[in-house]
Symmetry: C2
Subunit: 248 residues, 2 copies
Amino acid sequence: MRFFKLTIAYDGTNFAGWQFQPHQRTIQATLEAVLKTICGHDIPATASGRTDSGVHALAQVVGFASPTRHTPRVLLQALNAELPDDISVLSVEEAPEGFHAIRDAVGKRYRYVINDSRVPEIFRRKYIWQIFRRLDDEAMHRAAQALRGTHDFSSFESAGAERTSSVRTICDIEVRRLPPPRDMEIHIEIEADGFLYNMVRAIVGTLVRVGKGRAAETWPAEVLAARERRVAGETSPAMGLVLLRVDY
Amino acid sequence: MRFFKLTIAYDGTNFAGWQFQPHQRTIQATLEAVLKTICGHDIPATASGRTDSGVHALAQVVGFASPTRHTPRVLLQALNAELPDDISVLSVEEAPEGFHAIRDAVGKRYRYVINDSRVPEIFRRKYIWQIFRRLDDEAMHRAAQALRGTHDFSSFESAGAERTSSVRTICDIEVRRLPPPRDMEIHIEIEADGFLYNMVRAIVGTLVRVGKGRAAETWPAEVLAARERRVAGETSPAMGLVLLRVDY
């Protein structure tokens, strides 16, 4: 048996998320069907983590095992030839025996993209949250810094997850407006050892309240301390979220 | 009667081009329907030029006349509120009496985007021509320079157009690869006083043959001199083309 590590990108718009669900178009089901065609047997594929319906990935990592004799290079070409145009395989590597995409991941980085132009951004409309009102990105950045470090992030965890602990470590969180001519775009990037269910989207919804001037810069710290989901801001739309990187 | 100049952007993917056609979704029909709703009467809208099915615009100019009392600012907001998410109005200005979007245009600039990565580019897939083979962008740029200036561009004009003359002046033509990390993207920009039917796409198809090494750098000059469409390269796909700017 050989172990493989795939790095893939996908446009989440037309998928019901990563994970297999009956009668739904999911990334896992699409990828597993193509792997079966290429390798000739059923191959369960494991991603570093599930992404929700509508969430994108620039570099998701997927592990699988197969006795196939195909080289990584041949697998890369065959996968890209067979996959639909909203999934792309960026690289295929042979991984150490026992490689496990979830267990072996030590960190992840997500980006959330907001466009705060009064004019609708049409070309990137499926990859942004459009807010027709200028946000104070600097206040959002300052407010976000309270979330750095190791904390119980229960306030930013949606119901429905099964976790033994809500403690995670955010090692980086940045809010920055792009330079002109793309200065209507705000990127919120968060890097952590792991993320709770809907954690990034709940943090973004909370920071946007600050950006709109509806909450003080100190408010996100209070939300964090409350350890209760209902005190945080709304969950921001899935389409603005993209998984940037998984570290092993 | 007041005259207005709109600058609009559109994602051409789901339109059968600019011009009204029965039973088709076109940009003109969509815009005119919204103008009628807002201003209360039929308003013919004229674009600086038709764009074909699948072609995009970052800044197309549209003129119309109406006795409406709405200010440009109100029109801008009302249009963006009513238009679908693949058309956006960037600005509304009051224009001099008799303003005519076609007749008054003195120049236009188009960009054609090619991606020559071996890996499919999924997020921009509707705005690029993907060629799975590295192109020699520098050879393409050198070859393109022969098209600068005033020439009879019949070799780059598709049948079906009704023009009295095929002479146009290209004042700028550039082929450049973007810097890393976007260096799999090649932009071909052409600025001219006017364009023949499918002219940019025929030029791009011709330059790509040079970029693949299938034709010499001197070949585009020979194609130009031949004044015959069949000697040029294939017409490149519409999706890679975007109208960047119209000058008045």
